[in-house]
Amino acid sequence: MSDCIWIHYARPRPHWYGLNATAKQAKQANWQAVAAASLQQGGTCLGTYHVRGQHDFETVELWRFPSAEAAFAHWSGLMAAGYGECNAFANNIGLASGAPP
């Protein structure tokens, strides 16, 4: 097992804004279920931050995972739940260096 940081930038795709509130909530509930499962399996969400003022994306979300495979499983679950159809994104993975801060 190795400590990984996973960095996720996102913004809604244009057609997201055309969905009604019920449809949005249903999709968000599915994505929240994926996140809950990842938390259950050892992932840690460090938070979601708003970056639209100085970035191409709207939010950045930070997670720690016990392995690269766990990060992939989290993301793969989101994509299978239609997350990428509603959000443009850019992701990154990093392995803890072990160096002191």
């Binding site: 190795s2 990984c4 996973w6 795709r13 244009p14 057609h15 392995s67 690269a68 495979e69 990060a71 992939f72 993301w75 793969s76 994509m79 299978a80 990428g84 159809e85 509603c86 443009a88 994104f89 850019a90 992701n91 990154n92 993975i93 392995l95």
Partner: protein, 244 residues
């Protein structure tokens, strides 16, 4: 693993589940005297030998022919791109891939190149061309993302699009292009996929691109392409900046 998009007539889902591409887009850095030399080159070669022993494939060629591929190779792209070297390895797992990039960087790779590493699992198996692919010395690297138009399309619209693109991919194979399958990058990149070809000539790649344009491939994707000539990786590492 759930595929991002479904298998097609040309592309079959891979049976090498878990193998992970380690693609690299590398730009040579100005090297100060003493910062990179024979010691670093030997250290990188040593890491590559270790990776080979750990069941890595150290070239695109090795994805087609793991036993007969020979020395590590990559594509010399500097004549056409800001990137000097493009290439790809294949690691036995995601964790091995990520750790391997750091081993190479620490051995001296990072002193030589500024590198964008692209990692992700294999989705589709290799598709051989019609001729002797080992003799092909041109490489073509395609990165793409499914764009907003694809995201807003219906399932039937996407399947119709896949069928149209499959005609173009069959045309690529008929041009004696070999396709190293498809790998998924989206978990750790803004790109969703990478596809790498071995081609007999730049003209073949150009003809293939015309086929993809005819099939409206790019209406649903935003893509970036690199073309380069296959060379031993050791030579590409040793080359001075700006020399042929």
């Amino acid at each position: 693993m759930t595929l991002l998009t479904e298998a097609t007539d040309v592309f079959a889902a891979a049976d090498t589940t878990g193998r992970c591409i380690v693609a690299f887009l590398a730009k040579r850095q100005p090297v100060l005297p003493g910062a990179f030399g024979a010691g670093e080159r030997a250290a990188i070669a040593s890491v590559l030998r270790s990776l080979q022993a750990e069941d890595w494939r150290l070239s695109v060629r090795a994805m087609f022919d793991p036993q007969g591929a020979g020395e590590p190779t990559a594509f010399d792209t500097g004549f056409a791109h800001a990137v000097d070297v493009a290439g790809a390895f294949e690691a036995p797992s995601l964790s091995a891939a990520l750790a391997g990039t750091i081993r190479l960087e620490q051995a001296g790779w990072s002193r030589r190149f500024a590198t964008e590493w692209l990692l992700g699992p294999r989705e589709f198996a290799t598709v051989g061309g019609t001729g002797d692919a080992a003799a092909h010395e041109w490489g073509f690297v395609a990165l793409w993302e499914w764009n907003d138009a694809w995201a807003a399309a219906t399932g039937p619209q996407r399947r119709e699009y896949d069928a149209e693109c499959d005609v173009a991919f069959a045309g690529d194979v008929a041009l004696d292009i070999s396709i190293a399958g498809r790998h998924r990058l989206d978990w750790a990149s803004s790109w969703h996929h990478i596809g790498i070809w071995e081609a007999p000539s730049i003209a073949a790649v150009d003809a293939a691109m015309r086929g993809h344009e005819h099939a409206a491939d790019f209406k649903f994707t935003t893509s970036r392409h690199f073309i380069g000539r296959r060379r031993p990786l050791a030579d590409l590492i040793a080359m001075d900046r700006g020399t042929a």
